[in-house]
């Protein structure tokens, strides 16, 4: 899930934020953290888009002309260059004039919310992430009902699995594969998260 989007200007001042996760700290309080991370990201990684993990979340930073765009996501697979570029360019296009002047007015960029909500694919805004409660090793497999064991074994081998691939491997329908994967998740043996290609089940 994408948890928040921030736009910063020179000096690390946050001029826009959209938090999809109400549990996140006040964006203004976050701005110094985000600013520091952004600076580090720029210096350490150059133009490569890489997420910096912090407290189980990934912070992505992209530098475009006068703004830094920061996206906070649960998983490194959820954010790619095209998405963050699209957000940045849309912001620059819409506010090219405003960015030349005073950017400190309250609510000045609020109408970008609507645009942003259209840019980010809806599945990346759903909180479907469930972390596994224990490693799925041989001993853990013993506790699973036998009808779930073949799929769990494939999941151990692959480490991450989509519903489509699970259905193909077991030669069963996708709804049946999804039901089995969800059962393994509900037993705490696997996790579930949104990836670029949709829902992904994983072990760790």
């Amino acid at each position: 899930m994408i948890r928040a989007v921030y736009v910063l200007v020179e000096g690390g001042v946050c001029i826009y934020n959209r938090a999809y996760d109400p549990s996140l700290a006040d964006p203004m309080l976050m701005s110094s953290f985000v600013s520091a991370v952004s600076q580090f990201s720029k210096e350490a990684m150059g133009d490569d888009l890489k997420g910096i993990e912090s407290d189980g979340r990934f912070v992505f930073v992209a530098d475009h002309d006068r703004i830094l765009t920061v996206v906070i996501a649960d998983d490194p697979d959820e954010v790619d260059t095209s998405l963050i570029d699209y957000i940045s360019i849309s912001f620059l296009n819409r506010y090219s004039q405003e960015l030349l002047g005073d950017t400190g007015k309250s609510g000045q960029f609020e109408d970008f919310n609507e645009i942003l909500d259209r840019i980010i694919p809806p599945h990346l805004l759903r909180d479907t992430r469930v972390a596994p409660m224990e490693p799925l090793d041989g001993l853990s497999l013993l506790e699973l009902p036998s009808d779930l064991q073949p799929l769990a074994t494939i999941l151990i081998r692959e480490q991450t699995l989509t519903v489509h691939n699970a259905a193909r491997e077991l030669r069963i329908s996708e709804p049946a594969a999804r039901a089995k994967l969800d059962s393994i998740v509900s037993l705490g043996k696997a996790g579930r998260k949104e990836g670029k290609g949709g829902l992904v089940y994983y072990v760790e």
Binding site: E143, S146, Q149
Partner: protein
């Protein structure tokens, strides 16, 4: 490809000797056989076959430092095998054993993941069989070995320790994991083959195990085996001795029979 493990409740049942000889017999019959020593706590297959300072181990494959081809050691051509017999060893160095013993469940989950991939690679390489030499008893690694295999050949001696222990793992491990098994009795002392003792022994075994597994046979205790001092695969060096001819019959059954289905159901939580 068929993948099976030789496993037992207790150590000292002769698993490693049987693994090496079964693999050699299958390779003599033209089958391509991979053998993996997965007894990380007490590796011993290397003693029978020999290693060099250049040997790469399954441990190296699991830590990602070598490919699966690097760990496969082909038997020398002097044995004139009709099929391929390639062996992957577990590192016998005490430091490696200690490191392995200290690993947590997450490590074992990743190890199982890599071993499942290895199994697929061996099938892709054209192996007809992968035979796993498991650690005895119930450990992370032995349970992983059972998960990895299509079925297991449980090795037991004729005594109550092994009877009870084998029953225990059949009910507690193999049934919940839905794995088919065969039971092979090894090191059976010659007087047990004399009547009426032989019939009594078979009746006891049938009462205890017929609902749970299929008895594959009884391998007598032959002095030739300890005389080899653990450095000889008799199927390769003395193929006419009774141990080898008896084992050929067992291997023929394994080769001809379909992968066994689990006999007992419903032992789930």
């Amino acid at each position: 490809m068929k993948c099976f493990t030789l496993h037992s409740y207790k150590g000292g049942t002769g698993k490693t000797t049987l693994v090496a000889n079964i693999a050699a017999i299958l390779a003599q019959e033209g089958k391509n056989v991979a053998v993996l020593d997965l007894d990380f706590q007490a590796p011993s297959l290397h003693t029978l076959i020999g290693i060099s300072t250049k040997t790469k181990y399954i441990n190296d494959f699991l830590d990602g430092s070598v490919s699966h081809q690097d760990i496969l050691n082909d038997m020398p051509s002097s044995f004139s095998l009709d099929g391929r017999m390639a062996v992957a060893f577990s590192n016998p160095d005490v430091d490696a054993i200690r490191t392995q013993l200290a690993q947590d469940r997450k490590w074992h989950m990743n190890a199982l993941s890599q071993l499942l991939s290895l199994k697929q690679m061996l099938a892709d390489d054209g192996f007809d069989y992968t035979i796993l030499d498991s650690a005895p008893g119930v450990h992370y690694s032995s349970v992983n070995t059972i998960v990895l295999s299509d079925f297991a050949v449980l090795i037991a001696k004729i005594d109550n320790f092994d009877f009870d222990g084998t029953l225990n793992i059949l009910k507690g491990l193999y049934t919940p994991l839905d794995k088919g098994t065969y039971l092979l009795f090894n090191k059976v002392v010659p007087p047990m083959f004399k009547e009426p003792r032989y019939s009594q022994m078979k009746e006891t075994i049938s009462e205890m195990f017929s609902d749970l597994t299929t008895v594959l046979g009884y391998v007598p205790c032959y002095c030739d085996i300890p005389m080899g001092m653990g450095s000889e695969i008799h199927a390769l060096t003395s193929s006419e001795i009774a141990f080898v001819t008896g084992l050929r019959a067992v291997v023929k059954k394994i080769d001809e029979m379909p992968i066994p289905k689990p006999k007992a159901k419903g032992a789930k939580k």
